[in-house]
Symmetry: C2
Subunit: 208 residues, 2 copies
């Protein structure tokens, strides 16, 4: 018997995500969100709870989507794991050198989070771990294929790839062009080929 909603929640979150990606959490005004999503302030409010909550939702969706995308890009069976990661990086280089002003919500959350216990921070941390896990799986396959040294530290390499891709994102935003970014991606991939150096102290693991 209640009046049904006129909107689809995921659409709203997605539109909001666009706004946040373009402006950031703080700089995105509630009015921007209202305009982008099409529904009124109050509707937004009682459906999500506020700007921050909405951002968290968008962040969560963005993270899922990103993970899925990478996972998919690395999951094809028609090429070796190593080739896939290579293709993935090269594609990313092109994508990130495009001129739109988007910044991934994860990066935004990271930068705009106010403290270690900020929900933004914890969500981001989780996202990074999740992403690293995807890379790790692919790298593990590569190792099993013999394309990586047996003693390669798949975990740290996975985190390394997260770092590199974040850095490339920033560089892309700074206006570094497609050619350079592609070269950077290729440089980054060369880290896979060498012999494993001695491990740093302790056994690196993402959670600490």
């Amino acid at each position: 018997m209640p009046r049904p909603r006129k909107f689809v929640e995921s659409d709203v979150v997605s539109s909001a995500g666009e706004v946040f990606a373009a402006h950031g959490l703080a700089a995105a005004t509630l009015d921007d969100l209202v305009r982008a999503t099409g529904l009124g302030k109050q509707s937004l409010y009682n459906a999500f709870g506020g700007k921050r909550e909405l951002f968290l939702r968008a962040l969560s969706e963005d993270r899922e989507e990103a993970t899925r995308a990478v996972s998919e890009a690395l999951g094809h069976e028609d090429a070796s794991a190593l080739e896939q990661i290579r293709g993935h990086m090269l594609r990313l280089a092109i994508e990130l050198s495009s001129s739109d002003r988007r910044v991934s919500l994860t990066t935004r959350a990271l930068v705009e989070s106010t403290g270690e216990d900020d929900p933004l921070s914890t969500a981001t941390k989780a996202g990074i771990e999740q992403l690293a896990e995807v890379y790790a799986q692919c790298l593990e396959h590569a190792r099993e294929d013999g394309d990586l040294p047996d003693d390669a530290n798949v975990q740290s390499l996975a985190v390394y790839f997260v770092a590199v891709t974040r850095g490339m994102e920033l560089l892309g935003r700074a206006g570094v062009g497609r050619a350079v970014l592609t070269a950077v991606a290729l440089d980054a991939l060369r880290a896979l080929h060498g012999q494993r150096m001695e491990a740093a102290d302790g056994s690196p693991s993402l959670r600490e």
Copy 2:
């Protein structure tokens, strides 16, 4: 004959930089700056012109300082260029995994800039190029030393290092610990070696 200023401009810029590094441009309130710098709003205003201008000043100083620091770290004559870059990266890993909530002003400017022609954006671009140039010089030395393949693309490798360090910065902020970040730094360095060189030495300056 005019009344002299009671403050030193560079001190003010430096204090302001602290605030900006901790909160960002948008989130740093004028009041924060007043509190941190010690002088009044109006003094701030007619000495610098406004929050944005002050940020630009701080950004510029930060960039200079960062470039100088890296340049210095890479400029010692008592070790090979390759060893220096290695030490630099390892030190950076430790520094960036510290728990303070600082984010380099360059990254902040990058993320908070609103458009391609935003002063923030252009200043940042310049800063990145400058930093890359420092890396490039060091890498060139390494190449001359025979520690890098003759056909190594020093320019793109330099940009690669900028990307990696930015990524490490973000990861550090995300709470990735010292051990993992150090491992990432070592992974990153392997891009230099390709499959030819393995390091024979231990890892210097792991703790400092």
